[in-house]
Every structure is written in C-alpha cells, then in structure tokens.
C-alpha cells in the first residue's frame, strides 16, 4: 500500500544521538550553574539559554525517531501520546498566556517572552509526550486504549481525575508563589 508521510519520523539511530545530545547539554547546564564554561566566550546566562535550547533539540530528536521495531502497536501508542503531549502543551501555553495577560492588566506592564521560556514550553510538551509514550510502550497495563470522550473517561476513573485536578491546582499555586517572589 503506497502512502505519503508529510512529516516522517527519523531512524532509530537518531534516538541514540538525541539522547547523547540531551545528556551532554544537561551536564553542561549543571556545570554552568556553578559558573560559565571557560571555552565559550559568553556569560553564564547566555550559555544557559544556549544549552537549554540544545536540550530541547535533543528531546525533539528522541521524540521524532522510530523505535527498533516500529510496528502498528507502537504507532498507535505514539499517536495517543502525541495527542496527550500536544493537548498538555496547548493548555499550558494558554494558561501561561492568560496568567501574563491578567498580570499585565493588574500591573500595567507587558511581559515579553524569551527563547528560554519558549523552549521550556516545548520541553513541557515533549516531556509529557515521551513520558506517556514510554509508559504505553513498556508498562502496557497502565495504558487504556479507548476513544471515549473526556466526560466518559472521568466517570470511569474519578479518582485519577481528582488527583490530576489537584496536581494542576498545586502547579498553578507554585507558579503564582514563584512569580510573587
């Protein structure tokens, strides 16, 4: 069967390269937190922003690479995980935008976003996608293959959604408290 892939996945090798890039960049970030790297002519903040973007690129490489045996089960899990990752990313960006707008109205100052903030949002979405994908791949019983709507899912597992809701509330409170500082 001939098919056209608009945005194809890269080979399994790139997953390994992506993992190496991410780990090296994370080690660099850790080192920068103790002081700027001597072999790059830039301040610690500039170096941090650069390596943060590299971490995001590494995560992207991991996310867009195939598995060793990329069969239809893997593809189905990937599609569901991408749905979750994209959903989380869009809702978190929306929440972020609303927070900025509310603060702008209250304080009469416009907040601008830099590359690191944008990379952080991408990392959040990519991190969610990768977490959900690997839970589905290696902890199969934890994965529920259903196409039910939000309300039906909530009715099926009320306890999980209460915990999920509380986690979101705690996250927002933390963001608010951090911003207040």
């Amino acid at each position: 069967m001939k098919s056209l892939s608009i945005f194809p996945m890269s080979s399994y090798k790139n997953k390994v390269y992506g993992l190496v890039i991410t780990l090296v960049a994370l080690v660099a970030l850790l080192a920068i937190s103790h002081g700027p790297l001597p072999f790059i002519q830039a301040s610690a903040d500039e170096q941090f922003n650069l390596f943060f973007a590299v971490v995001t690129f590494g995560l992207y490489m991991i996310a867009w690479s195939k598995e060793k045996n990329d069969d239809e089960r893997v593809q189905k899990i990937r599609a569901k995980a991408m749905q979750v990752g994209l959903g989380v990313m869009i809702t978190s960006i929306l929440a972020f935008i609303f927070c900025i707008d509310v603060l702008a109205i209250k304080k009469h100052e416009v907040t601008t976003l830099g590359g690191t903030e944008l990379a952080l949002m991408l990392d959040f979405g990519l991190g969610t996608y990768l977490t959900v994908f690997y839970i589905g791949l290696f902890f199969d019983p934890a994965w529920v293959y259903n196409d039910d709507t939000v309300m039906v899912n909530i009715k099926k597992n009320k306890q999980f959604f209460v915990v999920y809701f509380l986690a979101v509330v705690v996250l927002f409170v933390l963001i608010f408290l951090l911003h207040k500082k």
Binding site: N69, E72, R73, D140, P141, W143, Y145
Partner: protein, 66 residues
Amino acid sequence: MKNTIRVERAKLDITQSDLAEQINVSKQTILSIEKGKFTPSTILALKIARYFKVQVEDIFELEPED
C-alpha cells in the same frame, strides 16, 4: 474482542517471539493482542490467520461490548 492466538500457538508449539518474528511485529505486540489490550489492524489479523492457516473469525471473536 477476544482471540484464540494462545491456543493456536500451543497447537503449533511456538512461542510469542516465534510468531512475532514470522509476522514482523514485536513480542510485546503479540502479548498485548493475546491479553486483549490491543486490537490488531485488519492486515495484521489477516497475517495472523494466514500464519495459522485458519479464517480470521476462527481466531478473533467480537464480544457484546464491542
């Protein structure tokens, strides 16, 4: 949807890995299908049936909730 892949495998005395290799999927995929956690596509169902030399309906059966 329930299935009799485990029974068919036992008849031929083959492992999940053997079946997975024959139809080009991972062992985890066969495990998930046998447990009823994953419903295979029509193509995969036909491949499984062809391997066991039976009809698809002999292996896969719809349940009332399907």
